[in-house]
Structures are given as C-alpha cells and as structure tokens.
Amino acid sequence: MIGFPILTLITFLPIVGMIIILAMPKDKSIWIKYTALAATGFQVMLAVILLGNYDYSAGGIFQAESFQFIEKFRWIEITGLSWLGTLKVDYFLGIDGLSMPMVLLTALISFIATISSWNINKSVKGYFALFLLLDTGMMGVFVALDLFLFYVFWELMLLPMYFLIGIWGGPRKEYAAIKFFIYTLFGSIFILIVMIGLYFSATEVIAGGERVFTFNMLALMDQANYSVDGILSPFNPHNLRFIAYIALFVGFAIKIPMFPFHTWLPDAHVEAPTPISVILAGVLLKMGTYGILRISYPIFPDITRDLMWYIALFGMINIIYGALVALAQKDFKKLIAYSSVSHMGYVLLGMASLSSTGINGAIFQMFNHGTITAMLFLIVGVLYDRSHTRGLNDFGGLATQMPAYTGFVTVAFFAALGLPSLSGFISEALVFVGAFGVESIRVLTIISMLGILLGAAYILWTLQRIFFGKLNEKWAQLTDIDAREYIMFIPLTVIIIFLGIYPSAMLDIMSTSVNTLVEFVINGANNISISGL
C-alpha cells in the first residue's frame, strides 16, 4: 500500500492545476498550457503508480476490505436529530477492478486531450481551467464509493462541459451545449431522487453501534441493512424498487447514450472542439455504464435480473441502429459519433449477459472504446484543422498525400470494426461469448452480430471515401501529421495493438472483481426472490 492519499491526489490534482492557472496572467497562454499538461501528466504518473501497487486478487464490489487505496472519513455529520438519527455523508474513496480501468482511461485520455488542446487559442485561461475542473469531476466519479460524493462529482462535470462546448464549440454550439446540459441534468435529477430514496431505506452501523441512514454504496448493497418499511427496501411488500431502478437506469442511459436518449450526442460531438469530443467519447460515455455496473447492479440485483432481456434488447438496438445511422452520415464527425452509439451498445449487451465473460467484455469494451474512439476523434480533428471541412465526400485519395496519417487511421479504423489482434476485437468477442452463453438473450445476440458487418461497412466506406481513389486536387497542399500529433497518436496506437495481442494485461485487473460482481448479483437476486418479494 501507499503512504499518501493517492486517490485524493489523483482526483484533485487537476483542481490544483486549475487554481494555479487562474492565478496566471491571461497573456501567458503557453505557460497555462504547460501547467495543464503538467497536471494531467502527473495524473498519468499517479495512475501508473496505482497500477504498480494494484492487487489483482482483490475483489472489491461489496466487500469494503477488498477495496484498495481506501480513503474514508466523515465529511458531513449531523447528530442528535429527533427522528433522523445521525445524518452523515462519508468522504469515501477506493477502487477495485471496476474502477481501475476507468481511472487509467481517464488519466490517459485527459493527458492526450490536453495535448490535442494545444492549438486552442481562444481565451486559453478559461478553457484550461474548465478543462481541469472537468478532469477532476470525471476522476471523482470513478473513485467515489459514497453515493452522495458520486453525485457531487457527477454534477461537477456537468457545467464545465456545458461551457466547453458552448464557448469553444462550432457554429451551433449554443444549441448543442444547452441540449447536452438539459439532457444530462434531467438524468441526474432522476439519480438524485433514487439516491435520496435509497438513503432513507437503508441504515449502516457506525462507530458506537448506532444504526444510521447511509449513502455508503457498500452498505446499500447489503440487503441486511434495509429496514422493512423503507420505500426502496426489498422487504417492503409494496416497495418502489422497480420504478427506482428504471429512473436510475434512465439517468445513466442518457449518458451512455442509450437509444432513444442518444440525440444529444451527435450534436454535442459535432459542435464540440476536438479535445472535448475526445473527452466526451473517451470518458464521459463510460460513466453511464460504469454507474449501472457500480450502483444499479449490486444495489438492485433482483430488478437487474428481471430486466436483463430489456437491457440486452436496448444494447442490440444501439448496435444495429447506431451502425445503420452512421452508414447514412455525410459528416465525418457525426459518423464517428453514431459509431460510438453502436459501440456502447456492445457494452450494454455484455452487461446484460450477467456473465463473467460478458461483463469482462463490457468493461474491456468501455476501455477500448475509450482509446479507439478518442483516436478517431483526434483523427477527425487533425483532418479538420487542415481542411476545415468534415464532409466525407469532399475528400479522396489522401492516402498518397498523408501516408503516416493514413497509417494511424487504418489502425484506428480496423480496431473500430473489431479486427482481431486489435483491442476492439477482444472486447466485442468476449461480449458475444458472454451474451451468447445466456439462453434468454441468445437471439438478440445473434441479431447484434449484424453490427460487425455494418460496422465494417461504414468504416471501410469512410476509409475509401476519404483516402482512396484519385487525390482531390483541392487538398494537394495538405501536410502530413506533425510531431505533436505523433505524440497524440502513438500511445493510443500502442495500447490498441498491445491490448489486442495481450488482453490479459487489462482483463486480469478486472476479472476478479467481475466474478465477485456476477456472483453477488446472482446470489442477491436469488435471496430476494427466496424472501418472497
């Protein structure tokens, strides 16, 4: 274990950077950029240290003792309330196999997004301040183990995103920003309601043997903690667990984004500046699925099992629908955006399988989609910076013009269409293995496999439209990628290929926790159904 509170550090480091930046004079934009780079760079280092000290055999999920790097102390405590007993919120951080990959992903993507923000020149100070704030929000969501804390971080990342899209965005930025904002807020309000409902349904024993209401996720997972009359308690004959689950799920589904709540995504992506698209696709979308796995699954195992089929159904819709709509896009960035919709569908499908392979695949897919789609958006950005257009049909024959660029694009594209030996394949394969193994959703899985074909179709078509054929003379002056862009692309490419060949590097991190999760959910569901409710 590590001597210092590493999780707090990794979470709030960006805030420190933000404060430093705010203290800087406006005109020293280059120093501001370096500060931001340093902040995110340190974050990556810390993430690596985390990985170095990570215990692969610890399960986490519901056992507090097997979480790692735990930091826990009372944040808010109000004692002596007449009927409320003790009102308390913990500052409770810790990671397990579910969060570790996401922490790595967040650190990595933030770092790369910072590099790609280098050519932001409009009010640099504000941009990087907000950017780092966003970073903290994202990191916090993945390390928080207290619902209240989780929600705070969740909301924290909302506003910076709104401004980053709204100020530094494209022509229809206001529209996109407000749409993103309203959508997400709508979702988070549902989360809030359920959160409060849970708070008043379960209690936890604190020092001194007193039982108090709690936001502690782990305590909420333990059915023994639920009072009989709590509105979300499984023992309450007329509980509202089902409704609560739906509300929670919608709250998260909006972030994923799950059909039919996905329409904010294309707008947000198209309008957002490249680095923000990278963050959006690379990390933010994962929060939805992470939330479902971390909160909905273990806290509502019974409902989860009952709704498996529907989750899978929506996964399938996402896959096919996203791919088909992507196929029809004329705008490069929109196409990638819809491909995200399709790829997140695999995550849903894998989660729905409630099997280790499937959920391993889902989490792995979250990570891979993070890296791959981040790279795809960087690719769009590179092209857009040079040509100031994103029309797929405006290009052609760039392969001869920008060979190195084409090389990276090919890797990213084939990773996106799930070519074996690249990371994307492994996760999709595991998702299918897991989902196919479940009788009830087998048919949905088989239909989903059309996604592989459609994915290949739009990817290859794009590749052809942009890079093959005669070189469009208009682009004869386009230059190949420069050093900075190499720096952005190489790490991602390496990771994509490495994980494609040696997936265990990532899967070993999560598999123990995933097994724990699956076992916990299944047992929990059975216990509840046994207790007759």
């Binding site: 309203i182 329409t263 709509v325 029809a328 001869t400 496999m449 592989i452 074909l453 899967l507």
Partner: protein, 699 residues
Amino acid sequence: MSEISIINISIIILLLPLVSFVLLIFFGKKFPKLYLAATGVVFVALVLSIAVTFGMLTSYSGETLSFSFTWIDFGNVPSIGFLSIELGFEINNVTALMLFVVNLISALVHLYSIEYMRGDIRYTRYFAYLGIFTFSMLGIVITNNLLMMYIFWELVGLSSYLLIGFWFEKDSASDAGKKAFLVNRVGDIGMWIGILILFTHYKTFTFSTIFEQISLGNLPFDSAAALTTAGILIFLGAVGKSAQFPLHVWLPDAMEGPTPVSALIHAATMVAAGVYLLVKIFVILTADAMLVIAVVGGVTAFVAATIALTQNDIKKVLAYSTVSQLGYMVLAVGVGAYAFAFFHLVTHAFFKACLFLGSGSVIHAMHHEQDIRYMGGLRKKMPLTYYTFLISTLAISGVPLFSGFLSKDGILAGTLAFGSLTGHWLLPIIGFTVAAMTAFYMFRLVIITFHGEPRNKEKYDHAHESKWVMTAPLAVLSLLSIFIFYTPNPISADAGWFLNKWISTPQTVVPAEASFDFMQSGMNKHETGLAQESGIVHSVQYTEAMHHAHYPAMFLSLILAGLGILIAFIFYQWKKVDLEKLTEKLNSLYKFSLNKWYIDEFYHATFISGTIRSADALSWFDYYIIDGIVNASASITRFVSRLSGWFDTFIVDGLVNFSALFSGFIGLSFRRLQTGKVQTYIVFVVFAVLVLLLFFRPF
C-alpha cells in the same frame, strides 16, 4: 528432429513473415532494398517448412504434435468454475504439407513479384503486405483452436483487402477490396456463431478437446441438430473465404489486385483456407451438414464453370475456374472424400498458381492488357510461359499424367460412390458436367491467348518473354503438376504415398444416428487406428463404393475432358463453327453466362440498396422523429413567441427543446393573468378566497 523442435520451428516459420512485415512497414521508406530481405526471409521460412514437413512425414507421420498456452484467464467464474481461454498450435501431416505449400507458393510469388511489381510507387509496401498475408495464412494452418482460426481468418481477410485495393487510386480496386472484406464478413458472422455454439457448450476453443467431448457423445446443447447447425455455420466461414455460392461474388472482382497476389491469395492459398477449415472440422460434420456442404460445393462448381465459359478477361476466366475448382473441393468434403479434397487443394494450388503467374507474365508482356480478344499467337513470343501454362491447363482439365487428373478423378469417384450409397445422383452428374466445361473453357483460354494470329499488332510486337525471376516460378509450379510427385501410378492416386502414407482420413466422431451410415466403420471407434492401417476409409462399404466408382469415374471424366478439349479446338482453333451464329442462337443463355447470372445485380438491387435505404430512412427517423420529439417544441415555441412578440434564435430552441408544448402555453397563460390592472388582481383575490372556501370548507 524432436517434437518440441518441430513445434518451435513451425512457430519460427509463423513469425518470420511477420518480421518481414514489421521491417518493411517501419523501415521500408529508408531502405528501399529491404524487399530483398523480405524475399530472403520467406525463402528461409520455406526451407524450414520443408524441414518440418520432412520431419513430420518421416518420424511423426499420423501423429499430432501440439503446444498450447493460456491466453486469457478469467479465474473462478460463478456457475462455471475456473475458465480460461487457451491458444496453441498443432502439427500433423496435413498441417505440415499445408505449411510447405503455402511457404513454397509465397516464396515463389515473392520472387516473381520482384520483377512484376518493379517501379511501383509502393513497392516495399507491397512486400510488407505479402508478409502479413503469409503470416496470417500460416497462422490459420498451424492453429489448434477455433478462436485463433477465426483471428487469423480475419487477418487474411485484412491482408487480402489491402492487396486487392493495392492500387487504390483505381476506384474499381478499392471497391473490390471493400466488397471482398464485407462479403467475407457475412460468412465470418456465421462461422463466429458456429464457434460460439461450440464454446458455449464446451467452454473451450481447442479442436482436440471438442472432438473428444463429441466422441464421448456429449453434443452441444445435447442435440445433434445443434451440432449440425454448428457445422453448417462454421462452413459458412468457408463459403465466404473459399468463394462458394452464394458468396462467391467477391473473388472475380478481387482480380483488381496485382496478378501475383491473385496467384498467391485468390488461387492457391487463402481461398483454399475454407477447404482447409472443412478438413479440420471434418470429423464433427453430421450427415445433414455434409449434404448441405456437398450441394453448395456442387452448385458453386457448376455456376462458376458456366460463367467461365464466356468471360473474355484472362484473369476473370481463371478466377471463375478457381471458384469452380474450390467448388469441387467442397463437394469432395461433402461427399466424404476427405483425402481427395485435400489432395485437390494441393494440386490445384500448384497448377492454379502457375496459371495465374503465367497470365501475369502475359499481362506484363502485353503492357497490362487483360482482354484475351486482343491477344493471340503469343506462343512464339513467350514459349516458356506458354508451355508452363499449357501443362497447368492440362492438369486442371484432368488429363492423365498430370496431378489434376488424379485428384479430380478421386473426387468424381467420391461423388459417384456417394451417389451409389445415398442415392444423391445429381452430385456426380454435376461433377462430370463441370469437368467437361472446365476442359473446354481452359483450352478456349489457351487457344485464344497463345495460338492463332495476333489480333493486336503493336502490343504483340512489344510482347517478349519475361525475365527468369518470373519464369522460374512458372517452371517450378508446372513441374509440380506432374503426377510423379504424388504417386508412381499415373492413373490411380490410391497407390501413391500422398494418399497412402501422408493423408489418412480420420474417423468421424459424430454419433451414429446423426451421421451417414457409410461413415460408421462397423467397429468400435477406439480401434479406428486399425481401420486406417487396413486402408479402409470410413467404413468397408464406403471403401468398396469408392473402389467400384474408380474406373467408371476415370473413363467418364477422360471422355468428357477430351470432349471439352475437342470442342474448344473446333470452336477456336479450327473455327469449324461460326460463333456469331451460335451466340445469336443461344443469345439469352450467352448473356446470362456473360453477366455472371446477374448475381451481382441481384445483390445490389436487394441487400446493398436495401441497407443503404434503411440507413437513410433511419437517419431521417433519428433526425426528424426522435430528435424531433425532443425538439418538437422548438417550432411550437417559435410560433408562440411570435404570438407574444418575443423572439430569440437559439436559446428558445435550447430552452424549449426540452419543455414540451404545454410548458409554453402554461407559461403564456400565466403571463396573461398578469394584466397589470390592480383591480383585476383584487378580483382574483376575492375569487381565490371563494374557491378556497369551496375546497377547504369543513363539510
């Protein structure tokens, strides 16, 4: 050689081409001469593979050496137990021979390409692609499990995509590459589902384990139907790769790639991978599965042959003949002629590669002219090319003394035997017709190209024999089309070491009730080893049937082949028949064949445009309906705000994007209440008092 060294060497063989690929990709620009290194590497691989093959066939014939390692470990998985994914390699005779074939042709093609591709702008890149292809192909060959099979399966798909679209400046080329990849994906999905069925039940991808389980009577989902399904679905993969009907459409287009590539990938090795896969999973094929396979193979052979009759592009003709021959092999597997399927795979690999390289040499000489109607009389100009081409043509047409005769004869015999045992007589009939057609169109090709008078003078004048690096491979390959390499007896392969010593048909593991009777040797499965030694294939009655079928098949095929050749000469050499009249007479048929049965058109009309349309429809739906519901109020609000003389461009949309219609109206009506007249307010107050009294009065 010890077992472990054989394994190690084969792994080295696998990795060598990868090395060349990496080198060329990263340093190709700096050192343009690196392609020589690549060629050298492949030749080293060839030598090693010869060593391995020799070692196998001499010391471990009939055994299976395998080596496997854990790739992914899921730990103790709930309700399953400890689960891990194993990968690995296995070497047996078939594998070893395949290794040799692939490496040999790959090496020859490398050599050939040095001259053929000279001066291309992406010269080194081309060799890099050859490298990655060889790597993936070898992977398919030596894997011992389905997952790796699938992985490398996709990788050859990739390399074929890259090589078909190598000249991507041509739209036709990049289209062809895309088409090849997508069509293959269709098959692969089926294959993947099949694999999943097996994995879901056996929790492993390894062939041997799965076979063992099945032979112990543990069927997937405990139903023979599931096993049949799995077999057919995996076969779908082969349908894609080996260009079987109805997924054969990509192969002819693939001829857009450089000719050596067509020789290596789209004639000799990759397309044969499908057949190789079938050979690998042969033992789990149930009766129904085999029948399906046989029928598909037959149909493919026939359709392709009919199309090949009328094509005018030299490579197209060869392409369709390839499809047709692949059909033969699949048909062979279907009818249980396991050995002959693989045999034909090998022989075909050699002579078809030779044909393609020969055509390449011609095309090279004719400055990339591919239409045979502008050729002619090249025999004098390029004799070596001509004779090698001729030998291979004889081989493919099934003329005795050549390899093709032996393998094809075996297959036809197999179909006959099958017909006699199961009553499916249509298959042999197809088989023989195709044999005749093959002979005809191949000789048509030879005659139009090499005989007669040159039709395009100045091209003809420039034509010349190619350099040795191009002709040497031709020589080697045509040499390998002679019978002597396979059997001492030119008319029967059964005596030959190829079939006797090297290839032994494995005993099916499918339970008796699910497989053909003739597949069941009457005796207990564990004594199958015995069955092999006594030269009995599958079962006594099958062996007998084959035996009876042998001579009739031979004569029949001889006659038909001769007939085909004869007609070809009558038509094109001696011009005894006026082709114009004939085509006039058979116009519809001719058109049908020339336009490849309009299959592409059909696909375009249905699947492709269907997908595109639905995609457009959906994106419309997405934009106008789903987002529309969200945005519904945008329009309403604009209307409302005009009413109230209040207009704001975007925030309104943004704002009301979310609030539905009524929010706008409610807000407005509330505003209306605020009339600004204090007395109205007071009226409201009084009114409110009365209403409240009405609602909250105690009774």
